[in-house]
Symmetry: C2
Subunit: 227 residues, 2 copies
């Protein structure tokens, strides 16, 4: 991770994108906000510039956010994630890092529940669709989107990062470490996304039960992570 | 939960039982240590008495621990849990509370993994076997057994409690609250055991990856639980 790494947000104008862009922009990173509509991306860029002076931001369509960035966060709602990856398959650059932050939770028909996926998790579902030459990690699954957008509130929690390989998890963690108050923790192979997505569901249930909004997790027993 | 509640530990001489007995005994609770061998139960009682003066402890066979206690913790290894419940089905008292602390993790053939269960979790697997008139909760799944036994080390973490009903979770939480440094959190219906068992697997992986021993969880964003 260098100051010159370009961080692309696919679906950067949605629920999670603007908050993530804010946090990265505040850290001085170069952020490319991608959207199906370049116009909407431009509006989000303006909103963030108003909050973070000197922010290094670009508006783009999703294809450009994918093809011009070394690190690409998939911030689209899970329902559109597979279609978005399929539509832009050719834009992903070999050697680039994709970070899946989607959560396959549905609120339809009763209490929130996980969407049943044959691969076991949203991340594994997307792995099958992404080019082999792209590294895939899952992160930020358990971090409330709402909280990311509240710049004044410290995140004060840990982020469990799983991925294809130790090297991929390491790269994703280096990027996430730009965000103050967020400690990335190596959660192992991609399969751990099954756990992280369930933990999000657990946090949603706890939010409802206790009438709070930002339930999230910290790992106890790991004094300091140098990694 | 009153001072007079009897807490029974089925398989109380195993990996998790003695630590749990220690913590409850230290809190002044009345603990019945059950074992297949009443002699081994007696030895564990003596060991705990040597550490906690004035401890209110009884040794028993598993059947007596089940039939004479209002709250029964299932502390046997998961591999023996179903058989133990089946063997003692008639001993469970209507209205009593059973707390499942087992984790269906196997270390055989490669990295630790969850045992595949048709019901989705160990707790749901046991629910099918227990009498209907018994309340079932899952708790302590993510608390390292080793840590329970280290009386000098504060647990300093949260415990996610799921169960049949809000009332069952409440009763289990009242018992768990006896243990200092452990905050019970209502994790919802029994199905949440699927998440808690996966979180244990996650903690085991993190322990190995970071060469630590007691990875566990705290929930951030829930300032104080009055429940």
């Amino acid at each position: 991770m260098t100051r010159f790494t370009r961080i692309g947000l696919v679906g950067g104008t949605g629920r999670e994108g603007p908050g993530l862009a804010l946090r990265f922009a505040q850290a001085g990173a170069h952020v490319v906000i991608g959207s199906r509509s370049a116009k909407r991306a431009g509006q989000t860029v303006e909103q963030i510039r108003a909050l973070v002076s000197g922010a290094r931001l670009e508006a783009a369509d999703n294809a450009a956010a994918i093809s011009t960035c070394e690190v690409v966060f998939l911030c689209v709602p899970f329902a559109h994630a597979a279609a978005t990856v399929d539509a832009h398959r050719a834009a992903f650059q070999p050697g680039s890092l994709v970070v899946d932050v989607t959560v396959p939770v549905t609120f339809e028909g009763g209490p929130p529940r996980l969407i049943d996926l044959p691969e076991g998790s949203a991340t594994e579902h997307l792995r099958r669709r992404l080019p082999q030459a792209v590294g895939l990690a899952a992160a930020l699954k358990t971090i409330p989107a709402r909280l990311l957008a509240e710049l004044g509130t410290p995140l004060d929690c840990d982020d469990f990062v799983c991925g294809d390989s130790r090297e991929v998890r390491q790269r994703a963690s280096d990027v996430l470490r730009l965000i103050p108050g967020l400690r990335p923790i190596d959660a192992g192979p991609l399969e751990a996304a099954r756990t992280l997505e369930r933990m999000t569901l657990l946090a949603i249930g706890i939010n409802r039960r206790y009438k709070i909004h930002d339930a999230r997790f910290r790992l106890v027993g790991l004094p300091a992570v140098s990694s």
